[in-house]
Amino acid sequence: MVTELGPVIRTRPALAVWKFASCDGCQLTLLDCEDELLGLAECVRIDHFLEMTPSEGADAQRARPAGRGPYDLSLVEGSITTAEDAERIQHVRRISRYLVTIGACATAGGIQALRNFADVDEFVAAVYARPEYIATLETSTAISAHVPVDFELRGCPIDRRQLLEVITAHLAGRRPRIPSHSVCFECKRRGTPCVTVAHGTACLGPVTHAGCGAICPAYGRGCYGCFGPSSRPNLRSMVAQLRRDGMSERDIQRVFRTFNAASPEYAPVPDLAAEEQHGPPA
């Protein structure tokens, strides 16, 4: 079947990649798109991407950390942990038409949000030889806590295909096709026998947002929850199941205290875990 279309008018939208408090893994996913990278460079103008810029010379001059903009699409990695970054994200938002956060740090605060549950000064004192040089906020927060975000891409790190889908969808002017159901969907579609049922291995798949393609169960391990909570997770039932799979109250608390520790959906977990271990509060 052949359908006539008018000529295709293409402009190359300007893309910017920003880094806040993060490990760079998600940005590097973009460079990981080896086969698609040249195609990508033809479709978008990568205007701001420090990871891809030499550290010296004219390019380095051009790629100032603040960037000038405006950018059609900004990919934001990392969480907000300093006062400067809280300012900088406002600037990034102002100069970006469409802002997508990439990864657990940017969408949920990342592993560094463990400080949200403790005293940050104690951490700083324990980690740094000269704590007085460290200026940091008491919490690590998601980008959406500071500015409006157009789309949040989950994962620690994000999935290469999902990143391409987000960019492609943006170029085509459609909604990205990123399902928010559980990892179990992907696990079953892949034909992996469930590790919880077949081996008694604890697995966060039933409450975890799909996206990775259910990698861990395919290698006989339980899901670690890298992609954060799925839509409307039933944590009470999940916690009860983790107990049946042999986890202690502390194990359960800790298994949710990883890359997406500060996800609001996980907030009830400590109470639920305590209740499972000791019975409901009197």
Binding site: M1, V2, T3, E4, L5, G6, P7, V8, E36, G39, L40, E42, C43, L164, E165, I167, T168, A169, L171, A172, R177, P179, S180, H181, S182, C184, F185, K188, R189, R190, G191, T192, P193, C194, T196, V197, A198, H199, G200, C203, G205, P206, V207, G220, S231, R232, P233, N234, R236, S237, M238, A240, Q241
Partner: protein
Amino acid sequence: MSADAEVNGSPPPVPEGLVMGKDGMAVLVDVLIRRGFTVVGPTVRDGAIVLARLLSADELPYGWGVELEAGRYRLRERTDGAAFANAAGPQSWKSFLHPARVREWSADRVEGEVVFTAEPADPPRYAFLGVRPCDLRAIAVQDRVLTGGTYRDPGYEGRRFGTLLIVVECTEPGATCFCVSMGTGPAAGPGYDLVLTEVVDVHGHRFWVRSGSEEGAEILAELPARPADPDTRETARAGVTAAADRMGRTMPEADLRELMAGTLDAPRWDDVAGRCLTCGNCTMVCPTCFCTTTEDVTDLTGDHAERWRLWDSCFDLDFSHLHGGPVRASTRSRYRQWMTHKLGTWYDQFGSSGCVGCGRCIVWCPVGIDITEEAAALHDWTRSGAPAPETEGE
């Protein structure tokens, strides 16, 4: 229940049949491969008996049994060396007939024109070795859904059309099986090309084989088998009869369709909703669940697009997403959709039950939610003087 079970319009089976040993099974797989079939059957992988392509009968799960419970599956070694003394595993045959991911078409923009290319339809000719009676019925149920109505699926038809079905009757039901309640097993119903019953006793390890179609009879003629002796036939029949008396689960003695229609407001739905993770595992393992979603993908240039079809589930919020949001947002409404569809509204749509009693949804639910237990609870509720049911949902 029987009209929809006619899978192949098979001639009546030869009642006496033949008997062959393990060597016969080896020859069977070779004959099938020589005849050009892609043989799919049970084999041990990842700590479970999965369905996979077989290149030799040696890959069959000789000596493996399973221990099944709600939310629990364990392989167990058997001393008798039987290959089929185990019940339904994590997959069903729908993984092959109605696969989890199918590309439907692709499109390319070539010099300003869009050219659509249909997926080439050259499915392999499958020979399914070791189809359980409940799964034979499940195939018939999916046939009705995907080929028997207004919305035919030519891809399914193509895969289903050349498929040879070799059924194995059950002699070792799992603790989660309830085919007797659903009228689907443990003896084979119609629709098979060949049916086997495995016997292991002092007289040896053997299979009683009958054909149910011309092609089945042709294949049977190629096997090193002798006419079935009365003793083997009797032992085989007795094994299947005994299996019927050892069902792990039963459905309540009630008209399940009426039970579903009459309990839409039962408090039990809230109870199960407290446990259900909405993970979708039950629908994915169910051999009759057929729901899919469509995914259109484009490449970066926008010059190439593909349409994919993926298994979906009524437990996904997006499944019922209409203008403004999901229609079935609560877990209660999603679990109820699943169970009432399986046991009730399936009759209205397709003239049969949507459940064949294989027990997979019970075993593979990570929190062990049991459809027979839920049905029993609903049944108890109606008998304990439940308020007159209102027919509208939430």
